[in-house]
């Protein structure tokens, strides 16, 4: 049956209300099973030996002593992970990132691994592995890595996007340029020009649950993997590819996930655990320590950004240019290119240009972190907007409204926008009572806006009706934010039954077709769409069974509020049949009743948000305390407002941590100095006030309920919202995030000395 994804305005009974998430009780009582909560008979403990050097040739690895240790069942190096990637450089990079192949590329890079009968034996075995390193010069700063004098990390990297093509390799993997109009003419027409440079440091997604898995490979090529992941189907494909397994024979089950935020979209220990298991012919469990998570998974880029804005006296921005330098760790990435797409996306600026430089450094391979690349670009652009507003003596919010993007505006990356919500969020911020709340001494208020694309992707869903009328909904998108509740609500809404009668589960990879990662704010959007269609398929079957039961044509049966109703002439005396009644008889009317759907959910609607931040800066310590924070974001349609608000608050909290405290600190030796939560300071509940939220609903025209993804957008505005608030509180413009107490204090002192 063909399905139409167009938005239909309708009244909902269940969607839009609030239900407790079905996984809630298990999670707060400790019953929920995460990545480290599986075990198998005969399982071994896997541990990884990691490079203590930022960059080093690995001359020799001698594993013989480790192999001889009693209780050690397998020891592996890259030789146990043969390169099957063919011409796929992206997969080859993943393989090399999981286990060094002759060269250690960052502090923490995996060099070898062991599987032993217990933790102590495994730790002892690691100490017995002898590795001979030859240290090489290293570089960890994005600007330094671009200098011609920088040590080159891969001699196969010749900058793409530069004419003529360079003859020498460098650490610059690509240059991107995009934009519209004529920026020179635009600046020439400007009455006021603002130019500023910004830097942001590297952060980690900071999920509380470390990477963990239980891998079991059999000699016949079948295997199982229990793992904490944002996408078990993608993990299956990648691990099967790297290990030379058939996709259908590798069964991957996703555990509950204790946070991912983009950091669990890639494999690190999983191929290693599979290889150890294959060699030992026993299950292998691997759980990363917090130190390993910081040093050797996928943090964000650190960046260096220049912004120039030009405007007329009336506030119309005539030109905007951004040059964005992003490091992707020790392998090529597209992070700067992504930043170019988002930098000016909230605005209608006829003459704009963004230039992105993707750079390699001796740091871990960067992975996505909620709206990847956008927060840093927004820090720069949204700070510059406030600086421009100040020059123009305009209110910051009014400058944004004057130049806001609307339906019909040309995006900086090319296409014309359909209906978008940025203007609505800015107007809602302007009208919000927070904007009129009184500020105390040393306090300041800042606003900022942000954008994320959101995606759809491949989705497969199964809906099965039990003989008592209760329903199983099997989905393939990992639940990172309460989507099991929202999806059950959608199924209940479509079928016309109570929410409590639908149980949503995340199925393993043998039970459904391929599902893309839960990333890009796609979980509820795409599985929700597939659930609607699967429910409608099931309804067709229910109607057919009713028609058969009554002996009337199918066209004379309609589905209303959970019941088959006989319509048309002569059927008025037939009582309605409930879903439960039809299900009870299903064994005698044709068998189990189900609906199924595969869809590539295109048409994901863009997400826009505007934030208000009140900060109090202690002039003696430079410490900033958030005293009030409001998120206004367009959700299209909030299926369960509790979990939409949760995403707004979570994204804002992570952005605030990024703005105020979080950074990777590398020493001159290229080693990470602060791989732990004590010295890498993320916000905790006591650091922040309750974050207020306002959900706007501008329907996405390409989803039956109008849903837009919400998970990512709200990490984009906070860096600048906080920076603008600090500027208004202190008169100091902070251009280097995190705006930690030492940095703010130094800036305040400099201001005092200048004054």
């Amino acid at each position: 049956m063909a399905h139409d994804n167009s938005y239909v305005d309708k009244k909902f009974n269940i969607v839009g209300t609030r239900f407790n998430r079905p996984d809630g009780i298990d999670k707060v009582t400790g019953k929920a099973r995460y990545g480290a909560d599986a075990s198998a008979p005969g399982q071994l403990v896997g541990k990884v030996l990691r490079s203590p050097h930022a960059h080093a040739q690995i001359l020799k690895i001698n594993t013989s002593k480790a192999e001889k240790l009693q209780g050690v069942k397998s020891v592996i190096t890259f030789e146990d992970l043969p390169d099957l990637t063919g011409a796929d450089q992206g997969m080859a990079d993943i393989l090399e990132n999981c286990m060094a192949r002759g060269r250690a590329l960052y502090d923490g890079h995996a060099v070898a691994a062991v599987a032993a009968i217990d933790e102590q034996t495994a730790a002892k075995a690691l100490k017995l592995i002898e590795v001979k390193y030859k240290k090489l010069p290293h570089v960890t700063d994005v600007d330094e890595a671009m200098l011609p004098t920088a040590p080159v990390i891969h001699d196969r990297i010749f900058t793409r996007g530069v004419e003529p093509k360079p003859t020498k390799p460098s650490n610059i993997s690509s240059r991107t340029e995009m934009g519209n109009g004529d920026v020179d003419a635009g600046f020439a027409a400007a009455d006021v020009i603002i130019e500023h440079s910004f830097k942001t440091e590297q952060t980690h997604q900071g999920y509380i649950e470390p990477h963990a898995c239980l891998a079991s490979v059999n000699p016949d090529g079948t295997a199982e993997l229990w793992v904490t992941t944002q996408g078990h189907f993608v993990f299956r494909n990648v691990c099967a590819g790297l290990l030379g397994l058939d996709i259908a024979k590798l069964k991957v089950t996703s555990s509950e996930i204790g946070g991912g935020f983009g950091g669990k979209t890639h494999v690190w220990v999983e191929p290693v655990a599979l290889a150890l298991s294959r060699k030992a012919n026993r299950p292998v469990k691997m759980v990363m320590s917090r130190d390993e998570v910081f040093r050797a998974t996928g943090p964000t880029s650190s960046t260096s950004i220049d912004v120039k804005l030009g405007a007329k006296k009336n506030g119309e921005i005539t030109a905007a240019v951004a040059e964005l330098r992003y490091q992707g760790g020790a392998f090529p990435g597209n992070w700067a290119m992504l930043a170019c797409m988002t930098a000016f996306a909230c605005y209608d600026i006829k003459n704009n240009k963004s230039i992105g430089w993707d750079v390699l450094v001796n740091r871990p391979k960067v992975a996505a972190y909620r709206a990847p690349s956008a927060p840093m670009a927004a820090f720069a652009v949204e700070s510059a907007m406030d600086m421009l507003a100040k020059e123009l003596r305009m209110k910051a919010i009014d400058l944004r409204l004057k130049n806001v993007a609307r339906e019909g505006t040309l995006a900086p990356y090319g296409p014309t926008y359909g209906p978008i919500g940025i203007e609505d969020t800015l107007k809602a911020v302007k009208a919000h009572p927070h904007m009129r709340a009184k500020l105390k001494p040393n306090q300041g208020r800042g606003v900022a806006c942000g954008f994320w694309f959101n995606i759809g992707g491949q989705t497969s869903t199964d809906l099965n009706i039990g003989v008592d009328g209760t329903v199983n909904l099997a989905v393939g998108t990992v639940d990172v934010g309460g989507s099991r509740s929202s999806l059950a609500m959608i199924a209940a809404e479509e079928l016309g039954i109570d929410y409590e009668n639908v149980k949503a589960n995340i199925a393993d990879t043998t039970s459904l077709g391929h599902n893309d990662m839960t990333e890009g704010s796609r979980g509820t959007f795409s599985s929700g769409m597939a659930t609607i269609y699967a429910a409608r398929e099931a309804i067709e079957v229910l109607k057919q069974r009713a028609a058969k039961t009554w002996g009337i044509p199918l066209e004379d049966v309609s589905w209303e509020e959970g019941h088959a109703v006989a319509t048309g002439k002569g059927h008025g005396n037939l009582p309605k049949l409930s879903l439960r009644e039809i299900a009870a008889k299903s064994g005698r009317t044709g068998g189990p009743i189900a609906g199924h759907n595969e869809v590539t959910a295109d048409g994901a609607g863009m997400g826009f948000a505007s934030h208000i931040c009140d900060v109090e800066v202690d002039p003696e310590t430079g410490r900033s305390t958030i005293v009030r924070y409001t998120v206004v974001q367009d959700a299209g349609k909030a299926i369960n407002p509790d979990y939409v608000e949760g995403q707004f608050q979570g994204g804002a909290t992570q952005g605030i941590g990024w703005a105020l405290n979080e950074e990777y600190i590398y020493g001159d030796d290229g080693r990470l100095q602060n791989p732990g939560f004590l010295d890498y300071r993320i916000p905790v509940c006591s650091d922040l006030p309750f974050i207020d939220t306002q959900i706007l609903e501008i329907p996405n025209p390409n989803h039956p309920y109008g849903v837009r993804g919400v998970g990512e957008t709200s990490i984009v505005p906070p860096l600048a919202a906080v920076g603008n608030a600090i500027a208004n509180a202190t008169g100091v413009r902070m251009g280097h995030a995190p705006m930690s107490p030492p940095r703010v204090l130094a800036a305040l002192d400099a201001l005092d000395n200048a004054g």
Partner: protein, 60 residues
């Protein structure tokens, strides 16, 4: 260029610019009149539509 679907357009481009074939296969999404298609290449392209090739964004 005549193309009724994204697949036809991609094939045409890959033949005209062979060194782009790999990039077109994996790294590109298509915007048709402002709506972004990342996956389904059977999608039809209406006559006179505004078509852009843009990076295939993922997310976090």
């Amino acid at each position: 260029m005549q193309a009724e679907t994204i697949a036809q357009m991609m094939e045409y481009l890959a033949e005209k610019f062979p060194n782009l074939r790999d990039v077109l296969q994996t790294d590109v999404a298509v915007s048709i009149d402002g709506q972004i298609f990342r996956d389904d290449w059977t999608q039809t392209i209406p006559s006179g539509a505004e078509v852009y090739l843009i990076p295939r964004i993922e997310g976090g």
